[in-house]
């Protein structure tokens, strides 16, 4: 699929649903999957895609000065800039939207005042297609897959950099900021980056001012975007020498992860990927740690946000299709070691899977 194919998929959805006009808002301003996936443009302000079964697709963006980039990115779209989004949409439909034949996506995610005005304009008989549009746009385009590979390579280089620059007395967030900027240098344009450290972690969290100490276990969930496409690697490093018992447990978590990854192929149920991971850990006596509050999911989709094909979780009934991209990360709490992070991004291929990372997670050591 390419980006035009994605637009076609949205139009086909409209036809199936009997919708003539579809208003598509972003998921939120920092997770703009819908607009980015449809147009290639990442909004700065509130924006809306207007798809019509009979007319040209229109992208309405705010603020007014965003015209240049919107036109450069949203190829094939008529780009209109506006000072006021609801006013601009009203002006596009002076006779109102077609009654009973209008669909909406994510209008409720827009800021309160704008959402209220647009919802009133759309009327009470609209079809909300939030979930259905996301499902229709699930597979990645070939360009996005290449971008996911590039983003993965950036994440892997950043972990190597972490091992070089982390030192005792350095604040977690200073390390995180330096690595984020390093990834920017390598071409990343955003980053869902969590990095924390403790002698016994309970979770990976946004970084704090806590200072690194010898014996800390650093958890790093590196999620750079390249041209808007996210990828993620999850890694663990010890400040100083590695305790053999910790390494043994870490290798168990990696083995569980690979058991999950090795089940990936088209036609496989996503929930069964998670089950394969749980089976390995349960066999080693950690069954009670395979459920909340210790773990909720074993990975998630990778778009411009963590969405389709959804969570790597036992309850996810989605059937894997070729070119779906997601991360598998057991990210397991074990009572002896605390929370351990390992995770690899994968693409579903015609016959199995492609692991996007070059090197599989290993328990690394920061030399002191």
């Amino acid at each position: 699929m390419d980006i035009n194919g994605r637009q076609q998929a949205a139009l086909q959805l409209m036809e199936r649903e009997g919708v003539d006009v579809l208003l598509v808002a972003p998921n939120e301003l920092s997770r703009v999957d819908t607009i980015f996936h449809l147009t290639g443009y990442r909004p700065v302000g509130e924006s809306l895609c207007v798809l019509s079964r009979t007319g040209a697709p229109t992208l309405v963006v705010t603020p007014e000065w965003e015209a240049e980039r919107a036109k450069a990115r949203a190829k094939g779209w008529t780009v209109q800039t506006a000072a006021d989004l609801p006013d601009a949409i009203s002006a596009l439909f002076p006779k109102g939207l077609p009654s009973g034949k209008t669909g909406t996506v994510n209008l409720g995610k827009l800021p309160m005042a704008i959402s209220k005005r647009l919802t009133e304009f759309a009327g009470g008989d609209v079809k909300k297609l939030d979930q259905k549009l996301e499902a229709a746009l699930m597979p990645k385009t070939s360009i996005e897959i290449e971008h996911a590979r590039r983003a993965t390579a950036i994440g892997e280089k950043a972990f190597e950099q972490l091992l070089k620059i982390a030192h005792e007395g350095m604040a977690e967030c200073d390390l995180a900021v330096q690595l984020k900027l390093y990834m920017e240098d390598l071409g990343a344009d955003d980053n869902f980056f969590l990095l924390t450290a403790s002698e016994h972690n309970r979770a990976v969290q946004p970084s704090s001012g806590r200072k690194l100490k010898k014996g800390d276990i650093i958890l790093a969930e590196m999620t750079p975007t390249y041209h808007g496409q996210l990828s993620q690697i999850c890694r663990t490093a010890v400040m100083g020498p590695i305790d053999p018992k910790l390494e043994e447990k870490y290798n168990l978590v990696v083995r569980a992860m690979m058991a999950g990854i090795n089940t990936i192929r088209p036609g496989q149920r996503m929930g069964d990927v998670a089950k394969a991971i749980d089976d390995v850990l349960t066999a080693e006596g950690y069954g009670e740690y395979c459920h909340p509050p210790h773990i909720r999911r074993r990975g998630h989709g990778l778009g411009h946000g963590s969405n389709a094909p959804g969570d790597v979780a036992p309850s996810n009934d989605i059937i894997l299709q070729e070119d779906m991209v997601f991360v598998v990360h057991p990210n397991q709490y074990l009572p002896e070691t605390g929370y351990l992070l390992c995770g690899e991004p994968v693409r579903v291929t015609a016959t199995g899977f492609e692991k996007l990372s070059k090197r599989t997670a290993w328990l690394a050591s920061v030399p002191l």
């Binding site: 920092s30 700065v44 309160m112 900027l181 071409g187 344009d189 980053n191 969290q205």
Partner: protein, 372 residues
């Protein structure tokens, strides 16, 4: 200016009593209740998210690094704080605020309803960010069928506009970081590197100077309007227009500048326009008078679309909400504003300059300026 929002906030946001003491927050909570005293509210719900968290930061220093947060403020000044994230993630969330026992959000409607049970009679006030999603309030209200919720944002936003002595000090510290960032930007431009490399150099300098957050927009063509840097490849543009915002202690400092190896009339006239605005600015001056002063120096050039809003209040948010929907109408003493001038002549020939000022009775203190 509007900026792209990162997926997660990475920088140093922990509460530091040496930067903003607890007594400052306690005083602000008293101010908030005093502002609402005529209406007998039982409690105040304060909403914020990683994009927009001025009100939350004003009362609690809490800035959600992921998703959203809520402060539930009782009339006696007690505060409950709920943050996005699992229970185990509250360790680092706790470091962001002086409020004890930060709790995770499971069902915010239920949390608010449980808190409301402990309160007296009367409606709840909602101090919301403008970016609060439209579908959130109906969900909260559904959990409180017999307790009205009234939006008090307009009343309480007014408290954030005039800056206390502490706020002014922190804002000046933020402006000093901006100075270091833009100095690095200028140096990189002179070194003839790409726009993207210049931006990263500025970000590195600001981070090294202690910024908790940095947002930048830059031209993607010669003289192009600053926009999101969503491309990995480098391009060299001259003139290069850049917007930079840095945050420290919750307070933002921002500015826009034009880097040009051979400044033409558009650049020179726009600089003169900003200079005229600075010479005119003082408490009580209307924005229309500032625009007029700028216009007289633009020499007939068209006003740049990104400078149509010539004045914005800057503080815990990059664009403070104003009493009037059209924005700032008149400069007020004790506030901090970004004054912006911009012009364009044709494709590739545009300029934007700004200054960050603290307004005083007889003029302004310049905290940062792209003219220097």
């Amino acid at each position: 200016m509007r900026v792209t929002q990162p997926a997660v906030l990475v920088g140093p946001y922990d509460w530091d009593e040496a930067v903003i003491p607890r007594s400052e927050f306690e005083g602000r909570i008293k101010e908030a209740w005093a502002a609402l005293k005529g209406e007998k509210f039982a409690g105040i719900i304060v909403n914020g998210n990683k994009m927009d968290n001025g009100a939350l930061a004003f009362l609690t220093n809490f800035t959600p690094k992921i998703e959203a947060g809520y402060a539930l403020v009782s009339p006696d000044g007690a505060v409950r704080l709920h943050s996005a994230g699992s229970p185990h993630m509250m360790v680092n969330a706790q470091r962001l605020t002086w409020v004890d026992a930060v709790k995770p959000i499971r069902d915010i409607g239920k949390h608010i309803a449980e808190w409301a049970e402990t309160l007296g009679e009367g409606p709840l006030g909602l101090w919301a960010t403008p970016t609060m999603p439209g579908d959130l309030l109906p969900r909260i209200q559904a959990a409180l069928p017999s307790r009205p919720i009234k939006d008090v944002s307009a009343t309480l936003d007014a408290l954030m506009r005039p800056k206390s002595a502490v706020a002014k000090r922190v804002a000046r510290d933020a402006a000093a970081i901006l100075t270091k960032g833009t100095a690095a930007l200028r140096q990189s431009f002179e070194n003839n590197v790409s726009a993207r490399e210049s931006v990263v150099a500025a970000e590195k300098a600001a981070a090294a100077a202690g910024a908790s957050d940095i947002r930048m927009l830059a031209s993607i063509s010669k003289g192009g309007t600053p926009t999101a840097i969503d491309y990995p490849e480098g391009g060299k543009f001259d003139p290069l227009l850049v917007y930079m915002a840095v945050r420290y202690g919750g307070y933002w400092a921002d500015g826009v500048l034009t880097l040009s190896s051979v400044p033409g009339d558009t650049v020179k006239n726009t600089q003169a326009a900003l200079q005229a605005m600075l010479a005119t600015a003082r408490a009580g001056v209307s924005v229309s008078d500032l625009k007029k002063a700028a216009q007289e120096r633009l020499g007939g050039l068209a006003v740049h679309p990104a400078a149509k809003r010539a004045v914005t209040g800057v503080g815990l948010t990059l664009e403070e909400t104003e009493a009037e929907p059209t924005g700032v109408s008149r400069l007020e003493e004790g506030r901090i504003y970004s004054l912006r001038a911009g012009a364009q002549k044709g494709e590739g020939d545009a300029a934007l300059f700004s200054a960050l000022v603290e307004v005083k009775a007889g003029g302004v203190d310049i905290l940062w300026s792209s003219l220097t």
